[in-house]
């Protein structure tokens, strides 16, 4: 057992090192230099050198990797190469936008998808089940940023009832405003995510409704509804739960796009900016 664990641990370590190396190489393949992001337009050669020393981009690649690797191991994010400001507190601050955005969207999507998926499965073959299927198909096909732009157009520019983007300067201390800023981004994620989730739920419920034990339950005199609730529901959600994990992580990824569309200061917008500026320590 000990040997097995050691074995696993060793492989974990190796894959960790390789993963970091791959990320490092991919980032360096992008042309450019973090020093460029901080230099003034008319920088002198001395200033260029100073900026390169400051950001460490003058060091040999091996040395840069080693520095980066050890800083990741230490878990200290260090200072941003570009702004010179510590990264860790910034990441924590940005979590306060990304986590609520993702979780609220996720919970609403899950509830909506359960309802829609249930109706689509339960009333399979009726005209409105077809409409739902078509709608979810469209929801999957339309890119999230496009949905965001449409929502902005409707709710901010035409109806003037919601902000088109942005985040209150004092964050959650201005609770109402912060919540208001999240409505459109959440609606956007919910729109796209509900479509995907409801299809899984529909398929799963259809499977269950077809199964032998529901038939048995019905033959014992239970109605379709109560036999489903008593015996089917739990089974129907087994495959869905495994999908949920994947969906949650893709929501986090989706936040990158949504935060940029709505100018939200979350982790996603921090990441895209850091990549654009080659701010390796922030990435």
């Amino acid at each position: 057992m000990t040997r097995y664990l050691l074995h696993r641990f060793f492989f974990l370590l190796v894959s960790f090192v390789i993963a970091l190396l791959v990320i490092f190489i991919l980032l360096r393949l992008l042309p450019g230099d973090p020093a460029n992001a901080i230099l003034p337009a008319d920088a002198t050669p001395e200033q260029i050198l100073a900026a390169r020393i400051k950001t460490g981009s003058n060091l040999p690649l091996g040395q840069q990797y080693l520095n980066w690797f050890t800083s990741v191991l230490r878990g200290s994010f260090g200072d941003s190469l570009v702004s010179g400001i510590p990264v860790a507190p910034e990441v924590v601050k940005r979590f306060s936008v990304t986590i609520p955005l993702t979780l609220i969207s996720f919970v609403i999507s899950f509830i909506m998808a359960s309802i829609i998926g249930f109706i689509a499965a339960y009333k399979n073959g009726t005209w409105y089940a077809h409409v739902i299927t078509l709608g979810t198909q469209a929801g999957i096909a339309i890119p999230a940023f496009w949905v965001g732009i449409i929502f902005v157009w409707i709710f901010a520019l035409r109806l003037h009832i919601l902000p088109s983007g942005g985040w209150p300067n004092n964050g959650w201390s201005n609770f109402g405003k912060a919540l208001e800023s999240l409505i459109l981004p959440v609606l956007t994620i919910v729109f796209v995510m509900t479509a995907t989730l409801s299809r899984y739920i529909r398929a799963s419920i259809l499977n269950i409704l077809d199964s032998g034990y529901i038939r048995t339950s019905r033959s014992l005199g239970f109605s379709q509804g109560s036999s489903f609730v008593l015996h089917g529901l739990r089974n129907a959600y087994v495959p869905v739960v495994s999908i949920l994990g994947i969906e949650l992580s893709s929501t986090l990824l989706g936040a990158v796009v949504i935060e940029n569309v709505f100018s939200l200061p979350g982790l996603g917008s921090m990441l895209t900016k850091a990549i654009a500026q080659h701010d390796y320590s922030s990435i």
Partner: protein, 504 residues
């Protein structure tokens, strides 16, 4: 189904609550609008500071938010481009032009409460020119030999060579209290506003400071709201979240505000030039006739209208109309004339044309300009191969390594014709006469002499088509029509906010 109705009702209710809250907030704002000094001005910008220090790579964004608002210089560059006293109450210049004795204003305090003294000026200067400083225009301070502080109210700058632009350059120097503070995230200046809060990735707010020595700000504070996307910025103005856009970067952003009484479009005097810059060191661009041929093969008016519609203007050299050494007659120094272009090309030794690679930054308007040039130059037998590069790559490949044939770039500053007097600059234009004139223009005694010398430079580079100056960008500030008092020229990215008022 009943459940659905309930849910629908809940959704409508939720929206109604937020709509109500929004309208309520606006009503509140409108009420306070009667007393302008209590109003917060919301400004929209694409330039978020990287950090808050001008010597540690804060970038254009920190100039926009802080220059003149939070920090002040000894002198101030007005929106019209004039240099005025600010923290300096007066100055004297020695007869040889080498010594500037500057007297500081009385009663000036930093936001922390400390009184301004000559030691702060000296320390601020030394900080800006220290090794490793990323201050812009640092090279213009190389001529300073020493800074002395004979008393708390007097600063004496001694120069190695006379410099007529010295006070103008001093206007870029922020005077700050450098007593143990991290200027990347905090400030201690003397301006009419103090830093309130910086929410990185989103906004920066400054609020009116009651201890200000001069005329207090006419508003209670300013919030700079940062956007990464120009259309998001326009949307924010359309939906009433912001009051002003400091600089509209694309004409698509203008159309929706035109002919609408709720908005004012200001067409200010820009200093941003769109350049087709050659590497003048290497053939074929070391030949002035070839450069002139290309200039004459391009219909710039058509290019300008296709990019900016009715905005922007044509220029014939690196000098915008706001610089004192502008010469209007140069606009047509290299007129659009295909036959002339062909003749020049033949006399330059390329009767059948040639091919070259144009390094094109990937952001607007460069890709469009590149395509336009490609089709224009094809008409005279020149093949343009467009090579798209990121802004970052441009800096490395073109600016640092000079590894290019020709490139597109926008140059934003005023008074930057002097770069043609530096043969080591990225475009490598080298004319000993121009080098001499630029150097002499700094050492003269009067602005008139300076103007004469730089006029000569202006004419020479136009005659030799050192680069192709395609057009001058418009400088467009759009605001809600109830807002006034903001700068419209946005010279060197500065944006003085203290006179802005918002009424009903």
């Amino acid at each position: 189904m009943k459940y659905f109705k309930l849910q629908g009702l809940a959704a409508v209710l939720a929206l109604a609550v937020f709509a109500g809250q929004n309208l309520y907030a606006r009503a509140q704002n409108d009420q306070s609008g009667a007393i302008p000094a209590s109003v917060i001005i919301n400004i929209g910008s694409l330039y978020e500071p990287t950090n808050l220090s001008s010597t540690e790579g804060g970038g254009q964004g920190v100039t926009e938010a802080f220059n003149g608002n939070v920090y002040e210089g000894l002198f101030k560059l007005t929106d019209e481009g004039k240099v005025e006293n600010l923290l300096a109450v007066n100055y004297t210049k020695s007869a040889d032009g080498l010594t500037y004795t500057i007297t500081l204003r009385d009663g000036v305090r930093f936001h922390s409460g400390k009184a301004l003294s000559s030691a702060d000026v000296k320390a601020s200067f030394e900080r800006a020119v220290a090794p490793g400083s990323l201050s812009a225009r640092i090279s213009s301070f190389r001529i300073v030999k020493s800074v002395a502080t004979p008393d708390a109210k007097t600063v004496v700058f001694t120069l190695n060579t006379p410099s007529i632009s010295f006070l103008y350059n001093l206007a870029y120097l922020w005077i700050l209290n450098i007593d143990g503070r991290d200027f990347k995230t905090s400030e201690d200046g003397t301006g009419p506003y103090v830093l309130d809060r910086w929410t990185r990735g989103s906004s920066l707010s400054i609020k009116k400071w009651d201890g200000y020595w001069g005329t207090p700000a006419k508003n209670a504070g300013v919030v700079f709201n940062y956007f990464t996307d120009a259309s998001a910025l326009s949307n924010a103005l359309l939906s009433g979240q912001i009051d002003i856009i400091t600089a509209v970067q694309s004409p698509d952003g203008i159309a929706q505000f035109e002919n609408n009484r709720k908005y004012v479009i200001n067409n200010g005097a820009s200093t941003t030039k769109e350049l087709l810059a050659f590497n003048d060191r290497n053939p074929p661009f070391n030949n002035a006739n070839v450069r002139k041929a290309i200039y004459s093969a391009v219909n710039r008016q058509k290019l300008l209208s296709s990019i900016w519609g009715n905005y922007g203007s044509l220029i014939g050299s690196m000098v915008p109309p706001t610089d004192p050494w502008y010469d209007a007659s140069l606009v047509n120094a290299n007129p659009y004339d295909i036959n002339l272009a062909k003749q020049l090309l033949a006399s330059g030794g390329y009767p059948n044309g040639f091919a070259f690679t144009l390094d094109t930054p990937t952001y607007d308007p460069h890709p469009t300009v590149a395509e336009f040039l490609k089709s224009e130059l094809a008409a005279v037998g020149i093949t343009v191969n467009i090579n798209s590069i990121s802004a970052d790559e441009w800096y490395t490949k073109v600016y640092k390594e000079r590894n290019f044939a020709a490139t597109l770039q926008e140059h934003v500053n005023d008074r930057d014709v002097v770069w043609y007097g530096n043969p080591d600059f990225y475009w490598g234009y080298s004319n000993p006469e121009v080098v001499r004139l630029v150097s002499e223009s700094e050492q003269v005694n009067t602005p008139e002499e300076q103007t004469q010398k730089l006029l000569e430079v202006n004419r020479t580079i136009a005659r030799e088509a050192a680069s192709v100056w395609l057009y001058l960008y418009p400088q467009i500030v759009i605001s809600a029509s109830n807002v006034s008092g903001y700068p419209i020229n946005g010279l060197n990215s500065q944006f003085y906010a203290y006179n802005i008022v918002k009424t009903n």
